[in-house]
């Protein structure tokens, strides 16, 4: 017996002992242990990819945000603590971008909720052509945002666009408030179908018998909507709102194409992108990235705690 084999045998017997020790503690059956192992094995690749692409870079972004790091002046790179954050938070550009982002988010999500509810009702109640309606509604959802944004941009360009022509040859994309209006319009058009479909799923959970009973009792359509439909749909509405809000908060594509963030229409995402690719400032860009991340965490936390929105999929583990 060679040394190598001996060590091998030793290690083997060692591991059996360790296994036995582990088995004794939680007293898992052979099957449960195999199941546990398989569970970890099946999840491992997904977990590795998700950590590699998100958790690790966020950690790296935190580190970068504490450095002075400009790609144009690589030799001046130096640890500077929270100075980047101080620079961002004391800059009017950040607060302006944050306000623009919040305005776009609040208005587009509110309007999308109302229109999505109407769309869901139409899709739920319509008597003929249900497939055609759903297919048509899915087109804005599926369409490449950038392609749609170019459509809107040209539609509002004087002497090219039908919408501009319809409004006295106006050029809304050149003024701050009107441009934000056009951006909101493009957001609403693109995201109402998604909202409508999520609400449709909630709507189909409202029992028809309940509606009929209320009707027999003399409740009006509006009363039935407020007293029966809405309360039963609350979970679906909150989940849809949470996802739409976070999605809207990171708005980038529509603004990039429609105005490039000119005339004070840039969102926080546009500001972060500009700092990286136009100013080549990795330190400041990272600080903005982390601040956007913190905003998203705050919004998600407020939804889940404040409105009692159950995190989607939180029931998955119960099986």
């Amino acid at each position: 017996m060679s040394v190598g084999q001996a060590v091998g045998t030793l290690a083997a017997s060692d591991s059996t002992e360790a296994d036995a020790g582990r088995r004794r503690k939680p007293r898992l059956s052979e099957g449960a242990r195999a199941e546990r192992k398989l569970g970890w094995l099946l999840c491992a690749p997904a977990v590795v990819v998700m950590i590699a692409v998100t958790a690790f870079p966020v950690g790296y972004a935190i580190y970068l945000s504490l450095e002075r790091y400009n790609l144009e002046l690589p030799t001046a790179t130096k640890f500077i603590g929270f100075s980047n954050y101080a620079a961002v938070l004391s800059s009017p550009y950040w607060w302006h971008a944050l306000v623009v982002t919040l305005v776009i988010t609040a208005i587009s999500v509110a309007v999308t909720l109302v229109l999505g509810m109407i769309l869901a009702t139409v899709m739920h109640r319509t008597l003929f052509g249900r497939g055609a309606i759903r297919t048509a509604a899915l087109i804005p959802y599926g369409i490449v945002t950038v392609a749609a944004a170019y459509g809107w941009q040209y539609a509002w360009t004087p002497s090219t666009g039908y919408l501009s022509a319809a409004f006295n040859n106006s050029a809304p994309l050149t003024s701050e408030f009107k441009a934000i209006g056009v951006i909101i319009l493009a957001e609403i058009w693109k995201t109402t179908p998604f909202m409508g479909l999520l609400l449709l799923a909630g709507l189909s959970l409202v029992p028809e018998d309940l509606q009929k009973a209320a009707k027999v009792d003399g409740a009006t359509t509006w009363q039935r909507f407020i007293r029966i439909t809405l309360p039963l749909m609350k979970p679906a509405i909150l989940v849809a709102l949470l996802f739409r809000t976070l999605d809207s908060f990171r708005i980038f594509d529509n603004i990039f194409i429609l105005t490039s963030g000119n005339n004070g229409t840039g969102s926080v995402s546009i500001l972060g992108w500009d700092n990286l690719f136009n100013a080549l400032n990795l330190g400041l860009g990272s600080a903005i990235s982390i601040l956007v991340f913190i905003c998203v965490v705050i919004i998600a936390f407020a939804f889940i705690k404040g409105f009692g929105a159950a995190a989607p999929g939180s029931d998955i583990g119960k099986r």
């Binding site: 449960a32 199941e35 546990r36 398989l38 569970g39 970890w40 099946l42 999840c43 690749p45 977990v47 990819v49 998700m50 692409v53 998100t54 966020v58 790296y60 972004a61 319509t126 008597l127 003929f128 052509g129 759903r134 297919t135 087109i139 804005p140 599926g142 950038v146 392609a147 749609a148 170019y150 459509g151 809107w152 040209y154 539609a155 002497s159 090219t160 039908y162 501009s164 058009w189 449709l200 679906a236 849809a240 996802f243 990171r250 980038f252 594509d253 995402s269 972060g272 990286l276 860009g285 990235s289 956007v292 991340f293 998203v296 998600a300 989607p312 999929g313 939180s314 998955i316 583990g317």
Partner: protein
């Protein structure tokens, strides 16, 4: 459904509502198609359709389909989209099976992590990933986009698939195990075929997300070697240096929209089922 007793007035009402929905959904798309067949001169006429025959042209299409500035990004989009979708669906299926069927510690952490990534602001990753990809040589390559696309496809995949997997008749798996199959064999031979419809739906949703993606495509590429079609639109200069690129951009926008419309027409039911599966039970 309220199909049983409806008055003609209600029928007219719902019919009108349908027409409004159709019009609102389709007018911006039709406008893009109309722009894409206008001659450069007609583009400076803001009427919705090109009215005169002289205002029609296929030139915008033949122009973009003969320049590598669009064809190469189109190939990149298809390749990157298909590879990302394939990897994401395979990895998500494995994880979703574990989530839906197996008991193991750490399941809650996985679900929480997937949820966190689904809500993640992509801009927060652009700076660090840009820096990491440059130092690893992944910048401006296919894998440089495929890896983040897989990571962002996974949460969508895990949620959609675990919702589908919970609907599968699992007695069949037990039967297979009684017949002597290992859990792994039961997964491959019995469950995977049953799960195929859910996997197709998930694949469509993930592919649409990759096809749509703009921020990473814009940030992690620098040439047409890996730039995808949506990002290429932002760099379009038109077929020749002196034409305004409005027509070519509209034509390119129509070309990248066509696959979406085909998907939606053929898979409407699946897409609706997939989008709503994860959200209802919340």
């Amino acid at each position: 459904m309220a199909a049983a007793h409806t008055t003609p007035r209600q029928k007219v009402g719902w019919g009108t509502a349908n027409l409004v929905v159709l019009a609102l959904a389709l007018i911006p798309v039709i406008w893009m198609v109309s722009l894409s067949v206008k001659t450069p001169a007609a583009i400076l006429d803001p009427s919705f359709f090109p009215v005169h025959a002289s205002q029609w042209t296929w030139g915008n299409y033949s122009g973009i389909l003969h320049t590598s500035q669009f064809i190469r990004p189109l190939v990149n989009s298809i390749g990157i989209g298909l590879i990302s979708t394939f990897i994401a669906v395979v990895l998500a299926s494995m994880a979703a099976y574990a989530v839906a069927r197996l008991q193991f510690p750490g399941k809650g952490v996985l679900i929480g992590m997937a949820l966190l990534i689904a809500m993640f602001p992509a801009i927060a990753l652009v700076t660090p990933l840009f820096s990491i990809e440059r130092s690893l040589g992944l910048f401006n390559t296919w894998p440089g986009l495929i890896i983040p696309y897989v990571a962002f496809g996974l949460p969508l995949g895990i949620y959609t698939l675990s919702a589908f997997f919970r609907e599968i008749p699992w007695e069949l798996e037990k039967a297979a195990k009684v017949d002597g199959a290992t859990p792994f064999q039961a997964f491959i031979k019995v469950i995977a075929p049953l799960a195929a419809p859910g996997m197709v739906t998930t694949a469509i949703l993930v592919f649409l997300a990759c096809w749509n993606e703009f921020l990473f495509a814009l940030s992690f590429t620098s040439t047409i070697a890996s730039r995808t079609a949506p990002a290429s639109l932002a760099f379009f200069s038109g077929s020749s240096q002196f034409t305004v690129p409005t027509g070519p951009i509209a034509a390119a926008a129509v070309v990248i929209t066509v696959p979406i419309i085909i998907f939606v027409v053929f898979f409407q039911r699946r897409i609706v089922a997939g989008l709503t599966s994860g959200a209802v039970k919340g």
